[in-house]
Symmetry: C2
Subunit: 151 residues, 2 copies
DNA sequence: AATATTTATTTGTTGTAACAAAATTCGAAA
DNA sequence: TTTCGAATTTTGTTACAACAAATAAATATT
């Protein structure tokens, strides 16, 4: 499955914009499916992984759900139960913020950090494959086009 | 929100590949959210819309669920209930395939065709905005890079 | 022809997403 | 300080997604 036409068995598109949009959605779905596959043994979803990476980015400083939601790739309007799961699995800790009791202080536990390492390691392989497919210039160009598309 | 760094408030990425991947997921989420917003008044989701477009592509020839699933942008492993909903809303018709009674013949109803027209029309606006942001060359280039990325 | 295998769809179950509304706490204004 | 409004998270509810298993019909095998 290389070109989008073969992938979704459609030989002609309305125009080149339509084609790019369809291709973008399709490609993102492929990447997501691959990530789901990698995370499955850990019983986590991309959303959980994304939250853990956000937490690691500020570790050991705690982050509150509101701040997490702000920077999530896919804003969860259901963050509470997403965090519930991570807490049940012992990957994060929830503490009342001492300065503002409306907020919760969320931090990765040691177990969370270690699991994240493992997951990152497994993602590395996909990452390496990608490097073989696009040059640095092309990756940068792709990013730039996506920025333009969002306006 | 233009550049991905501002969008998710992260100033540095591991490398340009990581950045492109994150940007791709984020951008696809934006497009999906926009589509969800447009479809909301019709009480349909992108998956439903995708199925209807597939049906229209072959109309008036019937298509069976297996063929639909094959070309969906996001393969639904739950196509039955997805079709249930479209049928409840009178947008599609389900008939036993006369030559193979394992299969179902799915076709758009007249109401389905008309609703699809309306939805397409509403999507046109987004489509026009896009044309202002990317040249035809850029759109083609984006599509090409996505093809390469998938390998 | 009878049985097994494969194909195609449906059903059951569980977890997650979307949305609205509730609950709690903070900060500001009267 | 009491009240009001805003900020923050949680809860309730419904619909959707993922996965496995079940059903049913066609095809192949013996």
């Amino acid at each position: 499955m290389t070109r989008i036409e073969e992938a979704i068995k459609q030989s002609k598109f309305q125009d080149v914009y339509q084609k790019a949009l369809v291709n973008l959605i399709y490609t993102a779905n492929c990447l997501r499916d691959e990530q789901v596959r990698i995370l499955k043994p850990f019983d986590l979803l991309p959303q959980h992984f994304n939250v853990m990476r956000i937490l690691r980015g500020r570790h050991p400083k705690p982050v509150c759900p509101g701040e997490i939601k702000e920077v999530m790739l896919d804003k969860a309007n259901d963050l509470t139960r997403l965090l519930d799961k991570l807490e049940r699995k012992g990957l994060i800790q929830r503490n009342l913020c001492p300065t503002n009791r409306r907020k919760m202080d969320i931090t990765l536990t040691q177990a969370g950090i270690e699991l994240l390492e493992k997951m990152n390691h497994m993602m590395e392989q996909t990452h390496e494959t990608l490097k073989g497919r696009l040059s640095e210039r092309e990756a940068a160009s792709l990013s730039h086009l996506l920025d333009k598309l969002r306006g």
